[in-house]
Point group: C2
């Protein structure tokens, strides 16, 4: 090897043109104006502002039950308050934070509120908040082992906890993503790759693939398929049975018909808890059918799969360990702040085969087999450390408490159903299933279309007064109300208050 | 309308089986064990733990320059420290937090460190951290106006600031996503939808579409195309010119050849700042060419587009306002914590046409035209409030300070280049461009392959000692070092220290 002279190559790199050092603070590191130009604040100010933010969060959480469950601003009002040109100059941080809390964060559905029963609530927990704050502050990168070994190790540990809870084999694994939409999309992309055995999605074969789902499947799934490049003609949306489940006989008939027509049946998307009613498709039957038919079985458990943590959930979700892939959202029934979804593959290496790319500027990250690069397993290269909140929640509260919190969701829905059943005018459309109950105000003799409109009006009134939030859905062509009770801080008194208010609204609005 | 009797329909919903109230705390809301089963902590404990987290973050940021720029754990060591079964019981929160800081968060590349020059750093700012903490605590939903009017209004305002900075027309808009990968994917999905005018991706036409990019394009783009269902045969990866840019003449020839062969040229992906060298493709020429040829022009500005904030960046990025779509990552050069990417479309309604879906259980959100549902504009339905951190950063520091911070990135790279040019043994491969400089240790007479290995070893030594982090890349088949200087807290002394260390390592390793 050439041996250059040390004198030339080891002298320090200095810049003769640099201004002479002006004493203790040559680069102006302590000058407030210079600091701002580096987007930097003094430590004492950082601490003070941080405490202020903590105080606002704690105050909010501690008074949540006294606040409206939802506040919706009008576009006009919010435009007037919040539209402004890009500010050239800065402003007082405390004041800016107070304004955001007052004008922005209060104009939302309070998805953690004990009487927010609409859509799927996100009854987060404070330990998850602490974890997200740590992640924001330390800003770890969880894409490659090279730059994120600690976070990736924790993510693998937490993924393995979920894998075991779901009864998936050792070969299974996955990663955390932004939520159910991307979890479903990631799983379906991997499924397609496994089928085609190639990155060449332009193949004629790709256009023949057919995916089966029910009319209760979450819209995230057809949207994901659309993004993946599946044509509408490649989706078979089967009518669900009277318990809102994918009917096996109709599925078998559709698969046979497609084969006969020269299509290639490829994937069944099962619901492991529908958003609409909490219905669970017959997973063991579907698993058997898919194995026999060489079909990929994906389960969308974004809403319901977390219930495996509980005894009742485990029974209901029997067969979930048989699927080829699974989406599961910890920001729903595992009590995490947005955004944390999870995708699990029965064979985790399929994710890697489907997603890995290796550009030159990442060459330094590819040195060891033991060093897992989670960026190779999904869409994102830059990935934050979503796993920490679930890790700390399980670590600090223990699985026992999380399980109790899940069980409580079941109890609350059953309690709500029993309260509704005591009143003759309420009809239960679907009984409490996975903490969802759907029902309709239907006094004898009332006109069904009038009642449809009534339920829309009930929701409008709830939003306006904020006592509680329920949302509506459509079942068997009729508008019904849905109550999703996964918030462990919901009390029986909250349910009574909410249902009493509903009953009053329904009776009053129907009379008027 | 039927008028049911008030006595039947307005009496409160009560449950006779409820246990009698046992005084001040009937539901056991203050009992510590019951609280844990609801994943709840008392306000004073929440406050104490929150302050603790703030203290750890501030301590970390305040001592960053004294810490290693990177720490990488071995898989074996981290498995031993962090692998454990799902804990059934909880543990002390303070202790759990301390362990996470020590064992997990310290085992990462410190992407905010003033001497972290590898890959693309994420030199976040503390105001962004405060915003992320607020978002975690309040857990707002930014998918629909119904449940997230305040956050959506702010997101639209911030998106409009970026739109104006990029010189895009009033019709332009977009949304925040997890990062550059999803921003590129979202834009390309919209581009395809605009071309096909249909959700039917199974069309024969979809398989004929061809996308053009250069060999310097970020791997996120081919990965996104693969996920979208484009076959490898639909990508044309053109060799870049001697300034690492997409060559217009070769592009024109490739498009003409494809048309002649019956393919359908559809989209050009331009780089608005490559990750490798900061090179910017000739945007005005490409815009003219694409207009004439009826091609969609997408710019991947994930790394570089934020530089439009500065005078120099604006000049370099001339033509960026002409693109049809743009990806831009505020978690890079706009100083935000992960994860915030942004996708902007010249015609924002194309996003809506490409992504909107309308399931029954979201019917309550579709009532007013003025009420924007950002979930209709991209892949995610559940979306957190990514916009807040950028909003608060601009509000508290002002655009003036953010601009100064961007300008500093240019200055630092130019300074590093000038330091390197003073030493004969360092060869500049690509001069400072958008805060990236690439260079190689090349003393006269040294064997090129030996030098390739030398640069790998230099990176290994830097990782091991942590003084600074640089990473390598490959340019014109040779291994070179890259310095990405977008951290405004980097000082000239940091550069001198880093380059002196490099020089010492290079000379020593070459001799050994």
């Amino acid at each position: 090897m050439a041996s250059p002279s040390a004198t030339d190559h080891e002298r320090p790199m200095t810049d003769d043109r640099s201004p002479p050092s002006s004493g203790a603070d040559p680069a102006g590191t302590r000058d407030p104006a210079a600091r701002r130009d580096r987007l930097e604040l003094p430590a004492d100010e950082m601490r003070r502002l941080g405490y202020r933010v903590v105080d606002r969060i704690v105050e909010h959480l501690d008074t949540l039950t006294e606040q409206p469950a939802i506040r919706r601003g009008s576009r006009n009002d919010l435009e007037a308050r919040l539209r402004r040109p890009l500010p050239e100059d800065g402003t007082d941080p405390e004041q800016a934070i107070e304004e955001v809390v007052r004008d922005v964060l209060h104009h939302t559905g309070q998805v953690q509120h004990p009487r927010f029963f609409g859509f799927v609530p996100s009854p987060s927990n404070y330990v998850g908040v602490l974890a997200d704050a740590l992640v924001a502050g330390f800003n770890p990168f969880a894409g490659t082992w090279f730059a994120g070994s600690g976070p990736i190790q924790v993510e693998m540990v937490v993924i393995d906890w979920l894998r075991q809870l779901c009864g998936l084999p050792d070969s299974a694994g996955g990663l955390f993503v932004s939520g159910g939409s991307v979890a479903n999309l990631t799983a379906l992309a991997a499924a397609r790759h496994a089928r085609l055995g190639s990155h060449d999605m332009g193949l004629e074969q790709a256009r023949r693939l057919v995916v089966y789902l029910s009319d209760q499947t979450h819209s995230a799934v057809p949207r994901a398929l659309r993004v993946l490049g599946f044509g509408d003609h490649q989706l078979r949306r089967l009518a669900s049975d009277d318990r809102c489940r994918l009917p096996l006989a109709e599925l078998a008939a559709a698969v046979a018909a497609d084969r006969a027509a020269g299509h290639e049946p490829f994937c069944v998307v099962a619901n492991a808890g529908t958003t609409n009613t909490g219905a669970i498709d017959p997973l063991p039957d579907l698993a058997r059918f898919c194995r026999r038919q060489n079909l990929w079985l994906h389960a969308d458990g974004a809403y319901g799969a977390a219930a495996v943590l509980s005894r009742r959930g485990q029974r209901l979700l029997d067969g979930i360990g048989e699927v080829d892939s699974l989406a599961l959202d910890p920001h729903k029934w595992l009590f995490q702040p947005f955004e944390i979804g999870c995708v699990l593959l029965r064979e985790r290496q399929i994710l890697r085969r489907a997603f890995a790319v290796h550009p030159e500027y990442l060459r330094d990250v590819e040195r060891g087999d033991e060093e897992v690069n989670l960026a190779d397993y999904g869409i994102q290269l830059t990935r934050s450390f979503r796993a920490l909140k679930l890790y700390l929640t399980f670590t600090i509260f223990g699985a026992r408490a999380v399980r109790a919190a899940v069980e409580r969701g079941f109890d609350l829905a059953e309690h709500a159903e029993s309260l509704l059943r005591r009143q003759a005018c309420w009809q239960i459309l679907t009984p409490a299933q996975l903490a969802v109950v759907t029902f309709r105000y239907a006094p004898p003799g009332a006109d069904p279309s009038t009642l449809d409109r009534l339920h829309d009006e009930i929701v409008d009134h709830l939003v306006a007064d904020g006592t509680a939030l329920l949302t509506s859905t459509v079942l068997r062509r009729r508008t019904v109300l849905r109550l999703c009770t996964i918030n462990p801080r919901t009390t029986e008194a909250d349910l009574t208050l909410t249902l009493t208010r509903l009953q009053h609204l329904a009776a009053t609005l129907l009379r008027s």
